[in-house]
Symmetry: C3
Subunit: 138 residues, 3 copies
C-alpha cells in the first residue's frame, strides 16, 4: 500500500471565500503514484469546508447568499457560542457544505464527472488554516 | 489490495427522483471479492446525490417537499447561476443531501444497520447521469 | 493491509443529544496498529449522525436550536413519514448533520486540526443504537 499526506495552507482576504483546489489535489495524486485508491480531502478547521461542485462564479455567489439566509452572521447575539467569539454562523455554514470529500483514484487520476471540481470553502477567513490531503492505494 | 470500479447509469423520467441502489452496490461488493475494506459511492454530477436513509415512500416525499422549501426552483431568477440554465436549486438540493457515502465492507458484505439503504437522488433529471462505485480492500 | 471493525453502543436519556466520541475512536486507532490509513465512523441508524465540530457546549445548543428551526418536530402531522411514527424530523436533522466522517490516520494517530472532535448526534434517542468504526491501512 502506498500513502501520501500533505497539508494545504490558506489565508483568504475575505471572511467568506471559495478556492478551487482541484489542480493542486490532482498533482498530489500524481505525486503519490497511487493508481487505484481513495483520496480524502478535508478541512482541518471547523469553520471551513471542502466540497465538490461546479466552478461557476454565479453559483458560488448563490451559495454565499443561501448560506447567509440559513445561518446568518447577524445578530451575533442569537448564538450561545458567541461569547467572546462571533463565528457561530461559520460553524453552521460549514456543516451545510460539509467537512470533507472522498474521491476515487482510477488509473492514477481523480475519477471525476465532467463538472466536478474541489473547493475549499472559508466561512471565517483572514487567518491561516489548513486542508489535509490523504491518499491511500496501490 | 483489491479494487473495483464501476459506473451506474441513470436517466429518470422525473426532474426530482430517488432510486434505491442498495442491491446493485451489494452485488458489486460481492463481485469485487473484497472481504475487509471501504466502498465509496458518489454522484459524478453536481446536481445529484448519493445518500443513505430509510426506504419509506412517505419519508422520500418529505425529503422532496423539504428540499423545495429550502432551495426552491421558482422563481428561477433568484439565482445568479441561472443565466441560460435553470438548475441552481438542484445544486443546492444536492449539497444538503450530500455527494457521496463511504460504507464499510466486513466479511465480504456492506456493513449496514437494520434500516440503512443507499439512494441515488436526482434533482435535475431527464438526462443521462452516472454514479461511481469504488471498492478497495482485501 | 490491516483492518479493524468495532461497534459503539449508545442509549441517550434525551431525545436529542450529542456525545463526544473522540477518545474512543482514538483508542481504536491505536488498537488497530494502523500507521497510515483511513478511519470511517458512521451512524448505523438513520435518525442519528456522526460529525466533526467544536467541543463547546454553547455551539452544541446552537446546533440543536438551529436544527429544530429547519426540521421542526411539531406538528408531527406535517410529515408523510409520520404514520404510526413521529420521527420524520429526526431523519431530516441527521441529513443536515451527516451520516459519517472519514478521518486520516497518520503516524498511528487521527490526523486532526486543533479543534476537531468527533460527535455522535442523536435525534431520536432513548433507545439502543450503534456507531460503526472501520479502520483500514498499514
Amino acid at each position: 500500500m502506498r500513502s501520501l499526506t500533505e497539508h494545504l495552507w490558506f489565508e483568504t482576504d475575505k471572511k467568506i471565500d471559495f478556492v478551487n483546489i482541484t489542480n493542486t489535489v490532482d498533482n498530489l495524486v500524481r505525486k503519490s503514484q497511487v493508481k487505484e485508491g481513495l483520496c480524502l480531502v478535508n478541512a482541518m478547521h471547523i469553520t471551513a469546508s471542502v466540497f465538490i461542485n461546479d466552478n461557476e462564479p454565479g453559483l458560488l455567489s448563490d451559495f454565499e447568499k443561501w448560506l447567509e439566509k440559513f445561518a446568518p452572521h447577524e445578530p451575533v447575539s442569537q448564538y450561545n457560542h458567541n461569547v467572546g467569539e462571533d463565528n457561530a454562523d461559520a460553524h453552521l455554514k460549514r456543516t451545510i457544505m460539509g467537512r470533507e470529500v472522498v474521491v476515487a483514484i482510477t488509473n492514477g487520476k481523480l475519477d471525476f464527472g465532467p463538472w466536478e471540481q474541489i473547493f475549499y470553502g472559508e466561512f471565517d477567513g483572514r487567518r491561516r488554516k489548513r486542508v489535509l490531503v490523504k491518499i491511500i492505494g496501490e
